[in-house]
Symmetry: C2
């Protein structure tokens, strides 16, 4: 009998999440019923939104239930099928959670073609993070040639895509990232025009130097101090897509002192989550898949080995220790 | 020779504006050149935006120049015309500033019909404040029947109109105003469902009690603490029109602690100024004029007598001492 290792939520964090909030359990791999299929998960996606789910507070989705398998995106291979839509050997992307195997009835499962795009990329640049970047950039900010576009967590799975999409619109693109190594890669690998290292302790001055014409569009993944400094540099009719507030996911206070810029500069500020924008997925995935296949979009992955490593990798992601898309290789 | 009394900006405020920042001067009433007309200003409009103009800081318009006539909306009568578009006796609304007489070339001047709507109302409910309320409500917030709509400075020239427009959309309408007298009138005169007295010291609890279903739309005239408490009560997909931040016009800090609601509730936050929405004026003025003429829209005015009283009346407006539209009767 094959064993399925799973991570469940053992307890809710009090402040920062810790390894002890998770528990590894083992269960037999089940048998698919009629209409179902069994999938071996090759990759697990780790994403900041999971931290918010661990809290028992009102948010845009229900909290992660205690003692249940942690929610998460997965990419894998069908190894048994009793569903005519899927055949053994199909590569599929879904939300099967932090476990080695999963059973699905096919709903929400997406068959992917790995001949031109690697399987893992469907959890990143050609998956949920990529679509998130695409919608925030092209659906909300709508950057125009010559404008200055800033994105935080710029070396991350979402930020790197958002910045490259804005570059394709001929913007001046400025990233905000943590540390000189990430900043160097944001410029050299992803082609941004500049990158501000928020850990260098000169956020205000460095942001001003990198955005001499002010800021027209801001793709926000972090909130907090970066958002506040960006607000102070926004130009008239600027647009801010609020995609994540990772700086406050553990309950940290995030006072914003420059809110008056919203009025003074007649800003649009729009919070969004990509699962509520179904119209975005098909065009975004088509464009991003083509860009990746033809080399027009660069991406990086940080891959942690083995399901046992998932909690540590996740906590590292929350601390910004990853570079690009954080994955766990499960098999 | 007729004398034209004028208020000029004598100095920029350091913190709160004071009477000493203004200086009353006298000049001869000029003669209109070819294509120009001379207007006797019967009413001067006093509006919060003027406080922002007094500062020498970046905002959406150039600062008010020192030693020049203070900017301001006016309603009056043509007393001499060398412009074929206007005849002596025409009633006109324009931006002739804090003075008893003004000369105009007709650009930006609007002829008004006082047979069904009083002249003064064209500076309030059927003028700039009314159009502001109309656009923020119908153009940005788009309230739907059954939703909860909150407006701050609810007894003011903009707030009272916004709330009544939302009431026409069958919303639950809640005002925020200063003091029991204003709150009573907001309910009894303007027909709001409830009103929170922000001066009562129980803002959070009273707002919660008045909005048991949360808040879907917020028309913000004040910023600061009210905005922060409203953010904490916003429902998913809520909309906030940022029209004024009167609580911060004198440079007060306005920290916002509940910004995360923008993401959690996928809010739209839109700053605007009505002069940049030219498409709004004709439909708004038509609708508001009809509502006022037929008794479907209530309004209040606080009228100060004589041009000498303008600075005191203006400072009172900034302190919320007015009730409804603050005007100065000039003749």
């Amino acid at each position: 009998m094959t064993i399925n290792k799973q991570w469940v939520l053992a307890s809710r964090p009090d402040g920062e999440a810790r390894v002890e909030n998770f528990r590894l359990v083992e269960a037999p791999v089940g048998k698919p019923a009629d209409g179902e299929l069994l999938i071996r998960n090759d990759y697990l996606s780790l994403d900041p939104y999971m931290r918010m789910r661990m809290n028992d507070t009102k948010s845009y989705t229900a909290p992660q239930a205690l003692d249940q398998v942690m929610v998460g995106g997965t990419a894998g291979e069908v190894i048994e099928s009793r569903n005519s839509q899927f055949a053994v050997g199909d590569r599929v992307v879904g939300m099967l959670g932090w476990q080695q195997y999963g059973i699905s009835n096919g709903v929400g499962l997406r068959k992917v073609d790995i001949s031109r795009v690697p399987l893992s990329a469907y959890l990143g640049v050609v998956g949920m993070p990529g679509v998130t970047a695409w919608w925030g950039t092209n659906g909300i900010i709508e950057p125009k040639a010559g404008e200055t576009f800033v994105v935080s967590a710029a070396s991350g799975a979402v930020g790197a895509v958002a910045g490259q999409l804005a570059k394709l619109k001929n913007c001046r693109v400025v990233g905000v990232a943590g540390g000189p190594e990430k900043c160097r890669a944001v410029i050299e690998e992803f082609g941004f025009d500049a990158c501000v290292d928020y850990k260098a302790g000169r956020l205000q001055a460095d942001l001003a130097a990198a955005t001499p014409q002010g800021i027209d569009g801001y793709f926000d993944n972090v909130g907090g101090a970066v958002l506040d400094e960006v607000l102070a540099r926004m130009n008239a009719f600027g647009r801010i897509a609020v995609c994540g507030l990772i700086s406050g996911y553990s309950g940290e206070a995030m006072p914003i002192n420059n809110f008056r810029s919203v009025l003074v500069n007649r800003l649009l500020v729009q919070g969004f989550i990509i699962s509520e924008q179904p119209q975005a997925w098909a065009p975004a995935l088509a464009e991003l898949g083509e860009l990746v296949a033809t080399g027009g979009m660069r991406y990086r992955e940080t891959v942690s080995k083995g399901i046992e490593s998932a909690p540590q990798a996740f906590l590292g992601l929350l601390k910004g220790r990853n570079f690009g898309k954080q994955l766990v290789k499960l098999s």
